[in-house]
Every structure is written in C-alpha cells, then in structure tokens.
C-alpha cells in the first residue's frame, strides 16, 4: 500500500496566519519523535503545529528521487551524500571530522568539537529527520538496561522499567513496521506478551551471516565467571518483509509503502539494495515521512518547513513556555529570514539529543539541575575486519542482517561495558572504504587488469568480513553539549559544541571486544586485517593499546529523565521539571543507552508521552486569552 502525501501540505500553512493561532501543541522537529507525537495527538482531535528546520517538498516522490539522483551522481558516497547541504539549517557530516589537537577545538564544521576525542556522529536536518538516513535496526532494550545502577553500580536507573515500556514497544513496532520473529528476539530477559508476533516475519540472514554462524554458533565465552555460548542471530528491522498473518490476533498487518503523491510500485518488500544507509531507493525501509504523512492527512496538523527554532521564551514567574521564536528562511542558500512566533498550550522539542539542549541553552535555559546538555551519550563503535577462507558473497543484502547479541548483558557489566556485534554485509566499507578502495589499490598499485583484476576483486572483496562492536557508553556529566555566542550559523543560531571522551568503563569493553574478535577470526580460519591508525581522528589508547573509535549516531542523555528534579531534566513522561508545558523528547531523555540502537525506544517513549500530553491538555482545558493588541507577531529582518 502506498501512502498518499497530501498535495501541497508543505506549503498550505501560512506562517503569519499560524502565528495568530493558539495550537494545542507546537512541535519542533519533524523526525520520528515529532511525527509520532503529531500523529497521535491529531488522531485524538488536537490541533498541532510542526516547525521543521529542513527544506520542504521532500516527501513527494519527486523530492525523494532528487535525493537518489544526488546520491548516484556524487563522487563521495558518504552517509550525507543524498541530502542537500543547507547553510540555514546545517548538519554535521562524517567527512568533516578531524583529529583534535589538545586545547584547540575544531570549529571548521557546524558541530564544534572540543574533544578530547573527535566523533563523526551525525544526524540529518530534512523533513523526516535522521530516519531518512538510518539503517533501521530496531532492537528493544534489555530489562537490565533500565536498572544499571541497582544491578551493577554503573550508570543511572530509569524511572521506568522494561515492563512499563513493553506495551509501548509493541506500539512502536507497529508504527515502524518491524520485521522479526519473537523466537529470535527472546533473550537476556526480553519478554513478549504471550500471543505477540511482530508485524512482519523476520528477514532472512545473509549468506555471509550463515557462513559465520557455521563456525561461531556454540562458541563458548567465559566472562566474570559466567559461561555463555555465542550465536548468530537476526536483528529486528524497520523494513518491509512478509506480513505475519498472526499479527494483531489474526488480523494481519498491512505494510506501509512509499510516500508519494501518486500511486507507485515501490515501497513493498525490501529488495536487498544494500543501500539502506544513506537512502533506501524503494522506501522499503521505514522513514518518519510515513508517520508524518498520516499526521498531515488528519487535516489538524499544520507544517511549516524552513522554520528553524531560535529561542524558547519562558514566563519568568511561572516557568511556563510562552512562545517559540523561529527564523523562517526563504531559500536554503539565502541569508534572508523572517522572525515568527508559534504558540500552543503545550510545546514539544523533538529536534534530537544534540539540537534540543542546543536550543534550550541558546535560550538561556540551563535547567535548575544544571544538567541541560550534560551526560551526552552515543555508542562507541569498534570495527575489526578480516578475510574469510571461502567466498562469502559480501556486499549483498541489507547493510546488516545478523550479529551476536549474547554479550549485551551479564554480570561482567559491573566491570566493563557490554556490546552488540554486527556482521556487516558491506564488508570493509565502513573501515576502509571497500570495495572502491580495493579496486583502486588493485589497479593503481597491484598492476591488475583484465582477468587478474577480476580474480583479485573476488579474492579481496567477496571474502570480506567486518564485525562492528557497538559498545555502551555510560552517562558522564563532563560529556556534554554546550553553546557559545561566538559560534553561530548563518541564521544566527548558536552552534552545538560537543565535549566528549570515552570513559574507562567503555574502553574496557572495547579492549575485550578486540580480544574476542581475534578468537572469532581464529575460529573462522579468517585472516585478521584489523589495523588501527594512530593518526585516525578517533584514535584512543587504553592500557598501551590503541583503537579506532567511531561515532554511533545514537545521540542520547542530554536531558536525562528521572524521578528527582535535582538529578534529572525531565520526568518519566519527558516533561520538563522546570517548564510544566514543555516536553523534551527523544534520545536525550535516556539515562542509559545500553546496547540497543535507540530509535525504537525513542518511538516507544514518544507514544507514551503523547498519552501524558493528552491527559495534561484535558486537565488544563481552561480557555486561554490571547493578547490581540500590542506588538505585531513578526517583523522582517535582514540576515547577517
């Protein structure tokens, strides 16, 4: 089934008229977090305004195809390649990352990095947000992840338990349309309702996964006195597979197809393009545009694109948010903008864990706990790579179909970080730019051409195995997002500054991951080609060994939730302790990241928060008087 994008929906809202409306809810950011909340509130009859920093027009198929063309024609196929760079709403790009010299922050790109460790972590500021771009793994968090302080004396406990979140996980799996099988996903305490099945059946493991599984399944591991056996297991995926007829008590599931203005043939099952990051050409992969479309179809959601939130204005007496001031730019390349305001009964910041605290701090709202922007978390990725003895057919399938999840939990977490392991179907692409780098090396340095080149490519590329260890990073107050008026973007918005170091707890997990990878390669009879370059921007040493650490794109922790206002920024509903009509939603609310890719949990939390918003709206139903006289709602300004 294709999803019809309401024609003209990105242009139908007049910003000046909207400035005179008191919406039920104003949402900043049309990523998955903002879109889920918009869809749920509008379904309940509420009027919603969404402000989105990225350019409009992107959800029609034409807009989507322009992403594809940009991707095919660009010589650099990095993960932001399909998306237009905008100076008005810039975004970090992995290729910008530089090694940071001590005491000299790297200010060359939008994300200012003061180190000590540089990160290539990124996000996308377009309609639909970073899910346009994500890979689409959708694991649930482990029950233990919510109680790390109690169980292991590390990190912070959540004010919610796995059981509290479980029904919302199921809702999130429906919204995203997850393909997985309960049998594969019930481990380390993850439980499901008795008759639960995922909306769609699990995607098959790749030939490469199976080759690894042949030798790795059953491999014994002993850690902190506990015995585990490894097993290659499929990941749950936010991409369309075969609908499970047993879903929803036997009612089945209708997959969401492509978003388009007209009937199209794409958007059905995943076809194995191996291009999920940065863009799925057929929209088999979920992106938030699918949910945003549902919201817009309600007729109760207004969307203003090219609208960059500039400042949150707060009533100094009550602490309540009065309005959000935003800058509407005319064209992505122009400096001119208009200042406009947006008003609602409730406000939701859904701009992600870097941009949410950036906006709050730029508005002078540091939070009574002083924690706004602190405890930035991400996953630390350690890559290890080798060549398998047989042709494994690398470079086929989705970016990743299977991996090892058995060391995501265990008693060892009192000493060292846990991790999940991905088997990458795209070989050494991530670590060494394969297969292009192999081609260039064989031709330019190997003297290969003709038959010897074809043989060389099979030998070098089709045997590749890359294991990506996604290691948890605990909250640390010194890892943080800040702002500084001397660093602004073209529209005058203060840019985010990231201060980041990897805690020893994580580095112990990293060191163990490297050891384990050597054992795995030995068991596979694979040649280990892992080699960490001391000049790499993310090079970090621990106990005399050096490692290349990469960013995880799993931004979290910067407005942590808790049950005590003095040690957290939001409550379990993601409501700001300081500003009762303001919700800060997304990964920023997480007290721990565990070893799950974070987006399913973001979606579950947002489903839950939307309920809390509806309750609050009902409670605060007293009519609000708008001042109609006085200052005009907007004024024209020239940019700088």
């Amino acid at each position: 089934m294709f999803v019809k994008f309401p024609q003209g929906a990105t242009e139908r809202t007049d910003k000046d008229a909207a400035a005179e409306v008191l919406y039920d809810v104003v949402i900043v950011g049309a990523g998955i977090a903002g879109s889920i909340i918009a869809a749920q509130l509008s379904e309940a009859g509420k009027r919603v305004l969404i402000l989105e920093a990225g350019p409009a027009e992107d959800l029609t198929l034409r807009g989507y195809e322009s992403y594809l063309d940009r991707f095919y024609s660009s010589t650099s196929k990095d993960n932001q390649a399909p998306y237009p760079a905008s100076l008005a709403a810039p975004m970090p790009r992995g290729t910008d990352t530089r090694r940071i010299a001590p005491g000299a922050p790297d200010t060359s790109a939008y994300l200012v990095q003061s180190g000590p460790l540089a990160s290539d972590t990124t996000y996308t500021r377009v309609l639909g947000g970073t899910t346009m771009h994500w890979e689409g793994k959708t694991p649930r968090m482990l029950p233990d992840d919510f109680r790390m302080r109690t169980l292991y004396g590390e990190g912070v406990d959540w004010p919610l338990s796995y059981e509290d979140l479980a029904p919302y996980y199921a809702e999130a799996e429906r919204v995203i349309g997850v393909s997985a099988d309960v049998e594969d996903q019930s481990f380390l305490g993850i439980t499901f309702d008795e008759r639960y099945v995922y909306p769609m059946k699990g995607l098959p493991l790749s030939y490469l996964d199976r080759m690894v599984a042949k030798d790795v399944d059953g491999m014994p591991v002993e850690l902190d006195g506990e015995q585990t056996r490894l097993r290659v297991r499929p990941f749950p995926q936010g991409r369309n597979g075969i609908p499970n007829p047993a879903y929803d008590g036997g009612n089945g599931f209708v997959p969401q197809g492509a978003v388009s203005t007209y009937q199209v043939e794409v958007g059905e099952r995943c076809q194995g393009n191996n291009n999920c990051v940065p863009i799925c050409p057929v929209q088999a992969k979920y992106h938030a545009g699918k949910t945003l479309t549902v919201a817009l179809e309600s007729g109760r959601v207004d969307l203003i694109a090219q609208a960059v939130a500039y400042r949150v204005h707060v009533d100094p007496e009550t602490g309540r948010v009065q309005e959000i001031e935003y800058r509407r730019y005319k064209r992505p390349d122009s400096k001119a903008f208009t200042t406009v305001r947006a008003r609602g009964r409730l406000y939701v910041l859904a701009t992600n864990a870097v941009e949410n605290p950036r906006l709050m701090l730029a508005s002078g709202l540091r939070g009574s706990s002083g924690l706004m922007g602190r405890n930035f978390m991400d996953h630390a990725y350690l890559l290890t790579w080798g060549l398998l003895p047989e042709v494994a057919g690398t470079f086929r399938g989705t970016n990743c179909t299977g991996g090892i999840s058995d060391l995501r939990g265990g008693r060892f977490r009192r000493n060292q970080a846990a991790f999940a392991v991905d088997i990458h179907n795209d070989g050494w692409g991530w670590s060494r730019g394969a297969p292009m780098t192999d081609l260039l090396d064989l031709v330019d340095n190997g003297g290969r051409y003709g038959e010897s080149l074809r043989q060389g490519l099979v030998d070098r590329v089709s045997h590749q195995l890359l294991l990506a260890f996604m290691v948890e990073v605990p909250a640390s107050p010194s890892n943080r997002i800040t702002v500084d008026p001397s660093y602004t973007d073209r529209l005058g918005n203060m840019r985010p500054i990231l201060t980041y170091a990897i805690p020893d707890y994580t580095m112990r997990g990293v060191a163990y991951a490297r050891q384990l990878s050597k054992r795995i390669f030995a068991r596979l009879g694979a040649e280990d080609h892992t080699d960490y370059d001391p000049n790499f921007w993310g090079y970090a040493t621990y106990e005399g060994q050096g490692y290349e650490i990469r960013g995880g794109n799993h931004l979290a922790g910067t407005h942590m939730m808790g049950s005590d206002p003095s040690t957290s920024v939001v409550d379990a509903d993601q409501r700001s302790w300081d500003h009762q009509n303001l919700f800060l939603v997304g990964g920023g609310s997480f007290p721990t990241v565990g070893t799950s890719n974070i987006t399913l949990t973001i979606a579950a939390l947002c489903r839950r928060s939307a309920r809390a918003m509806l309750t609050q709206l009902d409670r605060e139903q007293a009519p609000v008087q708008l001042a109609t006289a006085g200052a005009p709602s907007h004024r024209e300004e020239a940019g700088r």
């Binding site: 095919y72 003709g450 043989q455 099979v458």
Partner: protein, 164 residues
C-alpha cells in the same frame, strides 16, 4: 588525424576489463566514456593509447603471455599511457573518471575535463565492479527479497581463489 573510434575503444576496453564486447556495449556507456576520455586527455593521447594496444596485439600474435608483457611494456609502464589506461579500467569498473595525477598533467597538459567526476548517474549503476563480485550496485538494480541468503553469482573460475 581521424577522431579515435568507438571500435578501437571497445577493443582496448575488452582487454583491460576482461568483460566481453556485448557486456561493455550493453551498459550504453561506450560512447559517453570515450567522450570523457577524449575530453580529459585530448585526442593525441587517446590515439596513441589505441595504437599502442594494437601494436601489442600484433606483436604478440595470439600468445597470452606475450600480450601481457607487451601491454606492460608499451602501456602500463609508460609515463603517459599508463595512468590513462588505469583510468579507463577504473572508469568501467567504478563509473567514475578519476583525476589524473599532477605529474601527468604537468607533463601532458591539463584538459578541461580532467577532474574527478561521474559521467552520468547511470555510470555508477553500470560499474563492472559489482558484476565482478556478484553483487548489485548499492542503491540500484535490486536483486530481490531474500536473494542475499543465496550464494553469490560469481563465475566458478574465480571461486577457487588465488589468495591461498
């Protein structure tokens, strides 16, 4: 001087890539690639490259080892023709024209089209690299749901491997 011909270009490309004439012409990119080559190196260099290829053929008279040596002597080790021939291989395999090294442009002149660039959006999708490894170009020519669970379609003669 007559303009370099598509036939000569394809004959050279078959030997450089080990893909057949029908495979190469089937991409629809023979003419655009020849145009790219001429734009980047100039006709004098292109003509010399084709001539060297034909001379290598004539000289080795069907003996594969002799032909390999002749190509190495006449083309791959030549300061002017070597980098250009390697670029032709990369063009067919990757769909990208890579900028020639500075020492080449210093000696033989920088033409207007010498920078790294793609030829058309289709050239990436038609890259021979993907066919050589039995995969589809990421983002295009999708092989179908579940195809990734099957063994790769790589010609048997490459499966043994020269690696071990």
């Amino acid at each position: 001087m007559t303009a370099p011909s598509l036939d000569d270009f394809v004959a050279l490309s078959v030997d450089l890539t080990a893909f057949g004439e029908t495979d190469l012409l089937g991409t629809g990119l023979g003419s655009p690639y020849l145009a790219k080559l001429r734009g980047a190196c100039g006709d004098a260099v292109v003509t010399a490259l084709f001539a060297a290829h034909q001379a290598a053929r004539a000289e080795s008279a069907g003996d594969p080892d002799g032909f390999d040596r002749a190509l190495r002597y006449r083309i791959f080790s030549d300061d002017c023709l070597g980098p250009v021939a390697r670029n032709v291989i990369k063009l067919w395999y990757a769909g990208t024209w890579y900028g020639l090294p500075p020492e080449w442009t210093d000696s033989y002149g920088a033409q207007s089209a010498a920078q790294t660039s793609t030829v058309t959006a289709a050239s990436y999708q038609e890259g021979l690299l993907w066919r050589a490894i039995g995969a589809n170009p990421p983002g295009a020519k999708a092989p179908g749901f579940g195809s990734w669970a099957e063994p790769p379609r790589i010609d048997d003669r490459y499966l043994k491997g020269a690696r071990r």
